[in-house]
Subunit: 434 residues, 2 copies
């Protein structure tokens, strides 16, 4: 059974704090192994990648077969059933339409002193997307990572996707093709991250690496950060549903389970202003768990990290939700827009009972790569911004320098940075000679 | 003497690669010490912070005196000479005016399927700014960190600024006041970072920590990352100047020295299409070094990491500069705007000979916290965005769900995530019953 809390309970605050502090992930410490793998790939390049792929993925490669040929991609894509292809196309179109709107504007203006100021956005030159193998090989993640990069204008976009025992996922290859990725390496793990960060004879290095992965991949991303940019290191998935009694308990139960089924460390929380409704949802979860394919995982997640919290009113619900700062937040209430106004921290908000979170995982349009583990307090989901960077621009005229240069000189002197001051002073002196 | 390179030299490519790969920072490994300090602050709170401050800053504090009182701040601010106050005010106004323009827009729209989509920006609730003590205590950095946070709408903004031997920097306190920061703790080092990340009885935890610091501060920021957001970990400063022969060699020399004087690990590079001009700049640097206050530091930086590169034309200059991806880039050429169009990676561009980089350090308006160590390939300088996060919004109508739900269900099934599919299916079934 999940935790049942009521804000009127004497022990509520302590129990809620425990819920917030619960360490849901017990990542194995693979940092030393990963450091060795990265050093090996840096030293021996392709040879190391090929040996590690043989060892971990039971797949014998050569420098020539590290990458899928266009014909191999064609052959895999041809295996995708028509209805899956159409679903993927609809998803890709909607994700693209959403992300195109995220493209930020350059700005340039002249201020009253005559200084011309502004900034300009430019794409990262090369990005590498990691796609896990095996069970966690999600074509939807390929679209969610590759389309923002493509929209941002990244020139060279590559994918590393391990194929354990040589088995590729046709939908992953089709998703890559839809997102404009032509270069796909059949390698994975820390060796793939190292190859993308440092390059090998066959694999050109990239500037940014994104995408989910196991503990080895996460540790490798942390280690190459600085050499290249990375996206967030995602933790277990989370959902918080705020629902009033005017909902179908089974729908809410399924929404909670759609996070719980991801991972035994996932977390599903229901906040409701009706204790009876909370009980009905818990009963519906129990009923669905009897037949769910991934019931072992979902049951463990719901038992260990699930919670039903009863509040006095929706204001209290918003306050608690903001303390959680959930990755996914569903607002199944009569006026979801009004409640959303009170939400200050959440990765993604799903408004109203016709918007199950799963829509956002696939076809809604917004990105499904979102901040976990309360990091929505300070970070955002993946977007085109992750594949762009901003260069600031400043151009002084002699008049502008005359107006603001003296202040720069004064501050440079106060910071004991003489050459800074002199670089301004030398120019001001010239102006004064005129 | 710095390195002289000519792109026509046989060994140019190898030498340029060496220049790019040069490891300029040899950060002491203080990670174990820092881990101990953080654990101590988490376990013992204020008591640990006070003991560590006594040990490292030779300053005896109590929980009551951890924070500056308003009267203490008044008294320190009163020590600032009038011309410095005015310079700081001009800087603050210009920095604010620039950063106000960075505020991103919320968006909301309804797509052809009837789905309402969009996003909303919200500020981080609480941010902590670190300001180093001693020589690196720069009031300009207070403005550059605090003003973007203030513009973003951060509700609670605190500063940690160590005061070794009890000596405060009046200009730092005045800069904090100008930027609206009322809470200033006189603590520093890893203990200050730990206190802001985890909180103590006296110091409330924050959600985001920014600002420069020594090796201990940098290691502590790396360690608390995830618990809170952090800005970049900045490396030694860098400048690249592209200049044609139509410049005063002394101005360019001073611009190069204004980076070199920061730090023995700083790097200053001149790229010019005129070998004679390159020689004249090198001579001007040597002449200025004879009398410069920080000549020991600047001479070491110029000797060990400085470079003069002669190119055939400005296209070649842009190509090399993009491979460097410099933190600061000055374009001292006849048509700097045209050359800027060819620049794809740079933290900040200073256009034309009347725009010395030092203007950008203080009063230009753009932020002076910029990506170092070639990270302008994938990251941007500090901005209001660092103190905001984006929540995505999605709202389906029954009709929208009918239009896109089936695709979500298909993809959920293809990824073996049954509950995801059922959460959509249950709603579609209800619609079909109607």
């Amino acid at each position: 059974m999940p935790m049942f809390l009521d804000t009127l309970d004497a022990g509520f605050e302590a129990a809620f704090r425990d819920l917030l502090a619960a360490k849901r992930e017990d990542t194995p410490d693979v940092d030393d192994i990963v450091a060795g793998i990265i050093a090996d790939v840096r030293a021996r390049g392709d040879a190391a990648v090929i040996e590690l792929t043989a060892r971990f993925d039971r797949l014998e490669l050569t420098p020539e077969t590290l990458v899928f040929t266009p014909e191999e991609i064609d052959a895999e894509c041809a295996k995708v059933p028509e209805h899956e292809r159409r679903a993927l196309e609809q998803a890709a179109e909607r994700i693209r339409a959403y992300h195109v709107r995220q493209m930020p504007q350059d700005q340039r203006w002249t201020d009253p002193e005559g200084a011309s100021l502004g900034w300009r956005w430019t794409p990262v030159s090369a990005a590498g997307l990691y796609v896990p193998g095996g069970l966690a090989s999600y074509p939807s993640s390929v679209l969610m990572n590759a389309i923002p990069a493509q929209v941002a204008g990244v020139e060279r976009l590559v994918i590393c996707a391990p194929t354990p025992d040589g088995k590729a996922n046709p939908l992953v290859l089709l998703a890559a093709r839809m997102a404009g990725v032509k270069t796909i390496y059949r390698i994975g793990g820390a060796q793939a991250i190292a190859a993308m960060a440092y390059g090998t004879a066959t694999i050109a290095p990239v500037d940014k690496i994104t995408g989910p992965g196991n503990a080895f991949v996460a540790a490798a991303k942390r280690r190459v950060f600085g050499r290249v940019g990375i996206d967030m290191i995602a933790g277990p998935s989370e959902i918080l549903v705020i629902a009033d009694a005017d909902n179908d308990p089974d729908w809410v139960a399924l929404d909670l389970l759609s996070q719980a089924e991801h991972d035994e460390s996932a977390q599903s929380i229901l906040i409701t202003d009706d204790a009876g409704f909370g009980q009905r949802v818990a009963a519906a979860v129990a009923a669905r768990l009897e037949t769910l394919e991934r019931r072992k995982i979902a049951a463990a997640s719901w038992r260990d990290f699930g919670a039903v919290i009863v509040v006095r009113d929706l204001n209290e619900a918003a306050t608690l939700s903001n303390r959680v700062a959930p990755e996914h937040l569903e607002l199944c209430v009569a006026d979801p827009e009004a409640l959303a106004e009170k939400i200050t921290h959440a990765g993604a908000i799903f408004l109203g009972q016709w918007t199950p979170e799963a829509i956002g995982d696939y076809v809604g349009g917004p990105n499904h790569v979102l901040p976990t583990a309360r990091s929505a307090r300070f970070s955002s989901g993946l977007s085109v911004m992750d594949f762009l960077k901003r260069t600031t621009l400043a151009k002084m005229t002699p008049e502008a320098l005359r107006a603001i240069g003296p202040a720069a000189q004064t501050l440079a002197v106060s910071e004991s940075l003489q050459a800074h001051g002199l670089s301004v002073r030398a120019r001001l002196d010239r102006l004064n000679e005129r």
